[in-house]
């Protein structure tokens, strides 16, 4: 407890950093749930593919050595574009092959759920077996570095060295931490505005609230669903870039743990609710840090889920409830 008080600023800020990544990934879960009332279990892999896009594009550009955050800004901007394209593209593929036919035929939810879980395994194993796949295609020679040792950790070719920039309490906030928190907040703000103010956001909300009435008012629900997956993928791509700046390493199975946490964050904040995803992510990140601080790091996962259960006992629809989806029957 004394430790928590003595290091309050540091634990809070580093918790916010992790929570920002949770929140951006949580958006993907919440958006798809809001529109389809389904959990997209393959979303964690959408994120994982984004992290690889960052590694690959920097390898392609020949980045190496160490650099300050500002020094690597050019590389990171390109990596961001690559990750967004990759994650957005993978999200569209998931929608097309794991969801569209089943949703159109009104398949029972559990069938679509299984289909998504299957997609998650396939996406993760394609990454984990990419050397073999390249081999089948006869591309192993060309792709070399990009596909070798597919099940090992892949590291960012340029190492980003964080620098202290801002004193908060007794903690010097690093530039990377500041970038991650601010980027996440900006993305959330932009998305919130997009959903609230643009005609596309209107259509997404309409389909979320009453798909049949929306289609009778001329909304093309297939397009709306596709758009929803795309936006979730774009957010996951941003999350992947920020994650790589912070962690600097990824693997074909990194999606799982992060996905579970992000999904927890989405439920905590109220699944289907965009602002809830942000709130849930940040709270979860901070709570994990506090619990690790007070009880020991092996308690972080336990704490995350105890917190979730407690919140759901008091507020069954999460902290902010479902707003994108049906606010009432």
């Amino acid at each position: 407890m004394e430790f928590l008080i003595g290091n309050f600023a540091e634990l809070t800020i580093t918790g916010l950093v992790l929570g920002s990544v949770y929140a951006l990934v949580a958006l993907g879960y919440t958006l798809v749930y809001g529109v389809l009332q389904l959990i997209n279990f393959a979303h964690s892999e959408v994120f994982m593919w984004g992290t690889y896009a960052v590694v690959w594009v920097l390898t392609l550009l020949g980045a190496s050595g160490t650099s300050s955050l500002a020094g690597a800004a050019g590389y990171l901007a390109i990596a961001l574009v690559a990750a967004v394209l990759m994650s957005g593209g993978v999200a569209l593929i998931v929608e097309r092959f794991a969801y569209r036919r089943l949703v159109r035929q009104n398949a029972p939810k559990y069938i679509i759920l299984i289909s998504a879980i299957g997609a998650s395994f396939v996406l993760s194993e394609i990454m984990g077996l990419r050397d073999k796949i390249a081999g089948f295609l006869g591309l192993q020679g060309v792709l070399g570095d990009y596909v070798n040792n597919p099940r090992n950790t892949s590291t960012l070719p340029v190492e980003i060295k964080p620098e202290p920039v801002l004193q908060i309490g007794n903690y010097m906030v690093r530039d990377t931490e500041l970038l991650i928190i601010i980027s996440a907040l900006i993305m959330m703000f932009v998305l919130d505005q997009f959903i609230r103010r643009t005609s596309f956001g209107r259509q997404i909300r309409a389909v979320a609230q009453d798909p049949e009435a929306a289609s009778l008012m001329g909304a093309n629900s297939t397009n709306v669903v596709r758009l929803t997956f795309l936006i979730g993928g774009v957010m996951a791509g941003v999350a992947a870039t920020l994650y790589m700046i912070k962690v600097g390493a990824t693997g074909f199975n990194v999606g799982f743990v992060l996905g579970v946490k992000a999904f927890t964050a989405a439920v905590l904040g109220g699944i289907g609710n965009l602002r809830g995803a942000l709130l849930g992510g940040l709270i979860l990140g901070i709570a994990e840090n506090y619990a690790s601080g007070i009880l020991g790091s092996e308690w972080r996962d336990v704490t995350a889920f105890v917190l979730l259960v407690l919140v759901l006992l008091v507020r069954p629809s999460g902290l902010l409830g479902e707003s994108l989806g049906r606010a009432r029957a």
Binding site: R151, G248, N289
Partner: protein
């Protein structure tokens, strides 16, 4: 298969003179007749893929060299091939793979299991089946206390590594305060606890992080920096070890970072990046000699692994079993008895097992310093 073997024979026959004499067969050599039509297997159980795949690669180098030496030393012995069984080092995946090996009547001995956790998960089955296992790298102390008749290891346990690691931190590094972190695995907890015991009141704080459950260690980092520790020891595996060191350095930690044999592979340096400079890694394993490297260079098999920590121990473990087969022990029972009674010079140390499967009179413990992005040659701690 035959063609490869023949060429191996030629090359290896010359290069391996020294080791051959060192591993000379026991006195009462009874020629096993012409068993050349027979064929058997030895198996390796350990991580060939996943975060710890490097250990499998390193072990493979030792096993392949041992196979080549076997073919040269016992030209008339049965044909022996290696089966590589990929547990990913995961105690959850290992039992099914062990069952496959047990059901394969050709398998006379196992080099492995590589990690302590998977050993705990599979040794009861091996023991029941009477299939001998000789681990090059499972170091948790308690493994030899379970009464498993088939458990042997050619590596000193963490009971030796822990005090040596503590000594490294206090005497070589000169740290007055140490923060100890373990990864909650069978190996990590055992090693971490041993180091805490050895360090006594120099331990200024400790934490436990779940292996593979996160990539963000900020709470742990805060604890370390808040404690003011001069050194950190991480008892766990390479990827997490690298991430923790990187995040510690980013948070301004300027003390010494050390970890154990679980992190002694290139993934650690790749993951930690520049932060890994000056890190110490301890292991009850020394370097491969020039002869060993020369033999490895001469191997012509397509996938011969690479040399790293425990390559030489894997060689010794494989050789203990292979020489038994070469001497005409072609049932599991006979091979088990052969291993239990083994008494000869190995390339890492003299190999003779106590009743509990521990190596009698262990070799030294070494530290490896990271410099210029690579591990420097090991230095004995003492």
């Amino acid at each position: 298969m035959r063609a490869i073997k023949a060429s191996q024979l030629l090359v290896v026959g010359v290069a391996s003179a020294l080791v051959l004499s060192a591993c000379a067969a026991p006195a009462d050599t009874t020629e096993g007749g012409s068993g050349s039509t027979e064929s058997f297997s030895i198996a390796y159980q350990g991580p060939l893929t996943g975060a710890d795949a490097k250990y499998g690669e390193y072990a493979k180098a030792g096993i392949e060299i041992a196979l080549a030496d076997y073919a040269a030393a016992y030209p008339d012995g049965p044909t022996v091939t290696a089966i590589y069984s990929d547990s990913q080092g995961d105690p959850a995946q290992a039992p099914a793979l062990a069952a496959d090996l047990i059901n394969n009547a050709d398998v006379l001995g196992v080099v492995g299991p590589a990690f302590s956790g998977e050993t705990e998960a599979t040794e009861p089955a091996y023991s029941e089946a009477g299939l001998v296992t000789v681990s090059p790298s499972a170091t948790r102390v308690s493994l030899s206390e379970q009464g498993w008749s088939t458990f042997f290891r050619v590596v000193a346990n963490d009971g030796a590594q822990a005090p040596a690691a503590a000594k490294l931190l206090t005497d070589v590094v000169g740290a007055k305060t140490v923060f100890v972190i373990d990864d909650a695995s069978a190996y990590g907890v055992g090693l971490g606890d041993g180091i805490k015991d050895a360090l006594g009141d120099k331990v200024i704080g400790s934490d436990s992080v779940e292996k593979g459950s996160t990539t963000d260690f900020s709470a742990t980092v805060t604890k370390v920096t808040a404690s003011g520790a001069e050194a950190v020891y991480y008892a766990g595996y390479a990827t997490d070890a690298g991430l923790i060191q990187k995040q510690l350095t980013a948070a301004g930690f300027e003390g010494t970072y050390a970890s154990g044999d679980g992190s002694l592979e290139s993934t650690f340096i790749e993951t930690a990046g520049e932060a890994s400079e000056g890190a110490y890694l301890t292991a009850a394993a020394g370097a491969a000699g020039d002869d060993f490297v020369a033999k490895w260079d001469a191997l012509t098999v397509s996938d011969k692994g690479s040399i790293g920590v425990y390559s030489t121990e894997a060689y010794d473990a494989a050789w203990v079993i292979l020489s038994g087969i070469g001497e005409g022990n072609t049932t599991r029972e006979d091979v088990l008895a052969w291993v239990a009674g083994y008494d000869a010079e190995g390339i890492t140390k003299h190999i003779k097992f106590a009743d509990n499967g521990e190596i009698d009179g262990a070799g030294g413990v070494y530290y490896y310093l990271v410099k210029d992005g690579d591990f420097e040659a090991p230095v004995a701690i003492d």
